[in-house]
Symmetry: D3
Subunit: 131 residues, 6 copies
Amino acid sequence: MAESRFERGSRILASIDGQGGQAVVDSLQDIAPELGNWIVEFAFGDVYADPTLDARQRELVTLGSLVTQGDTAPQLKVHIAAALHVGLSRAEVIQAILQTAPYVGFPRVINAVNLARAVFQNEDEAKVHEG
Amino acid sequence: MAESRFERGSRILASIDGQGGQAVVDSLQDIAPELGNWIVEFAFGDVYADPTLDARQRELVTLGSLVTQGDTAPQLKVHIAAALHVGLSRAEVIQAILQTAPYVGFPRVINAVNLARAVFQNEDEAKVHEG
Amino acid sequence: MAESRFERGSRILASIDGQGGQAVVDSLQDIAPELGNWIVEFAFGDVYADPTLDARQRELVTLGSLVTQGDTAPQLKVHIAAALHVGLSRAEVIQAILQTAPYVGFPRVINAVNLARAVFQNEDEAKVHEG
Amino acid sequence: MAESRFERGSRILASIDGQGGQAVVDSLQDIAPELGNWIVEFAFGDVYADPTLDARQRELVTLGSLVTQGDTAPQLKVHIAAALHVGLSRAEVIQAILQTAPYVGFPRVINAVNLARAVFQNEDEAKVHEG
Amino acid sequence: MAESRFERGSRILASIDGQGGQAVVDSLQDIAPELGNWIVEFAFGDVYADPTLDARQRELVTLGSLVTQGDTAPQLKVHIAAALHVGLSRAEVIQAILQTAPYVGFPRVINAVNLARAVFQNEDEAKVHEG
Amino acid sequence: MAESRFERGSRILASIDGQGGQAVVDSLQDIAPELGNWIVEFAFGDVYADPTLDARQRELVTLGSLVTQGDTAPQLKVHIAAALHVGLSRAEVIQAILQTAPYVGFPRVINAVNLARAVFQNEDEAKVHEG
C-alpha cells in the first residue's frame, strides 16, 4: 500500500531532525494541531521529499533562510541540530552561518553563532550523560 | 609573493560569479568605489575563501539568504547565475528556492522562481547568439 | 466520492481570488509546477478551508501580512482584488492598509495604497470594456 | 465641547485593549512620554477612530501585521488579548495566526501560537483568581 | 494665534523635503487623504518638531532606517534628496548608506547607492535646465 | 610603520564602543574567531575609518538601522552605549530612536526605548559602584 503524505512526512522529519522536529510537532497538539500536521505533511511530506537535493543541501538552504529572517531562534536551534544530524560537521555549520555575513550583516550572524554554541554544548552534555 | 586579499577576492569572485560579479563591482566605481573593494576583499577574499564549504554549498546558503531577505532581485539574479556557474543544475536551483517555502511562505518563493526563469532564458538566448 | 485536497483547494481559490489566483498557479507550470500545486492544496485546500473565519476575515489578515512583509507587490495586487471579490468594499480595503501604519510605518502603507489605486483602476477599465 | 484627539484615543484604546494598552502607555512615561502620547493620539485617536472597519476587523489586520513583522512578542501578546477583548474567540485568534502561514512560513506562526497559548493561560489564571 | 499641528508639520515638511515631501502628500489625496494628513501632522508636526536633533541628524537616522528596511525605494529617493536639501553633502549621504553595510549586508547597500546616483543625476539635470 | 587594518580597527572600535565592542569580539573567539576579526577589520578598520562622517553621525545611522532591522537587542544595547560614549546625550539617543517611528511603526520603537532604559540604568549603577 502506498505511503501517505503524513507517513512520508513523519519518516523524513525523523530522518532529518531526529527527535527535535517531532517535539515541535507534538508541542502544538494542544493549541493548533493542524499546524503540526501541516509541518509534517507539507514541509516534510512535500517539500523535503523531492530527491533533487539531499538532506545536507536542504539544511544549508534552511540555515541561510533562518539566519536571514531573524526572530527564529527556536527554529534555528532545531535546524542547527538537524544539520549535524544529517552529517554536516560543526565547522560546516559555522561556515554556513558566516556565509550569510555579506548578505545580512553581522548582527544576525553573531546571534546565530551564539545559538550554534548552545546547540553544540547541549550535544556535548547529552553525550556525557549517555556515556 | 603572497596573493593579496584583493587578488584572492578577485580570483574567487571570477570563479564563482563569472562576469556577473565583476560587473557589479565595476558599476560601483563612479558612486562608491570602496563598496566594490569591500565586496571583493571582504565577501570573496575573506568569507568565500575558507575551504570548509565548496562553492556549490556556499551558493545554496546564499540562495536561502537572498530569497528570504526580499528586495534583492538584482543580487538574486547574480547568484542564480553563479549557482549554475559553479555547477548546480537548474533543477537544483529551483529546489533550493522551493526549500525556503516552509520558512518564508509563498510570495518570496514565487518572485524568486520568476527571477530564475528570467536568468535561465537569458542564458538560453546567450547560447543561441554564441552558437 | 470525497473531494480531494486539490479539488477543494481549486474550488476555494476560485471563490476567493476569482481568476487572479488561478493565473498565478498557471504561470508557474513551466518553471515549478509543484509550487502551483502547493498553493492550491496547502494554502487553499488546507489553510483557507477551515470555516472558523470567513473569506472576508481571511483577506483582512492577509492584507495585514502582505503590507507588512514588503517586496510582495504582485501578491498584494492579487489579494486586494481578492478582498474586493469576496465582498470587502474599496473603503474597507484602504482602511485595512491604513490600519498597519502604527505597526509598520508609512513607507509600506504608501506603497500599498498606490497598488490599491492601480487595482481599482484596472477594475474600472475592465468594467468599461465589458460595458 | 468636542472630544480632543487624546480623549478620543484614550477612550478607543481602553475599549480595544482593556488595561493592556494603557499599561504600555504608562510604562513609557519615564523614558519617552511623547511616544505614549503618539500611541494614544495617532494610533488610537486617528487610525482606529475611523468607523469603516470595526474593532474585530482591525485586530485581524493587526494580528496579520504583527505575526509577519517578527520580533514583536510584547505587542503580539497585547493584541492577542485585545482581539479576545473585542469579541474574537480563541479559535478565531488561532485561525488568524494560521492564516499567515502561506505568506510568512512556519517559524513566525509557531512562535505566535506559543504566545497565544501563554495569553490564554494568563486569562484562565486571572479568572480563577477572580472567581 | 498658535500654529496648528498641520501648519507646523507643513512648515517642517517643506523645510526638510523641499517639494518632494509635499508631492508625496498631494499624490495621496485621491486614494487616502488621511494618510497625507498623518504624514504632515504626525511625522513632521510631532516627530520631526522636537529640537533635540537637527534636520541633518534626523536624516542620518532616516537613511539608516530606510536602507535597512528594504522595499522603500520611493521613500529612500525622497530622503536622499531631503538629506542634500538640509545640508548634508553627497559624500556624507554615500557614507551614511555605506555605514549600514556591517549591519544589513551588501544587497541593501548596493541598491541604495544606485538610488543615490539616480537622485544626484536628477539634481544635476535640473540644474542644467534651470541654468 | 603603517598601522595595519586590524590595528586601525581595534583603535576605532575602542574609541567608539569603549569596552562593549571588544567584549563582543572576545566572546566569539571560541566559536568563530574569524567573525571577530571581520568585525574589527571590515566594520571598524574599513567602514568606520572614513573621516567623512564623525562617530556621532555614524552612531545615528547605526541606531536607525538596528532599530529598524529588529531581533538585534544585543547589538542595539552595544550601540546605545556607544552613542553615549562618543558624546550623544541620552535625550539625543531617545530622539534618534523616536525618529524611526514614522518609518517602522511603534513596536520596534517601544522595544528600543525599553532597551535604552536598561542601558541607562546599567550606566547609572556602574557609576554608583565606581563612586
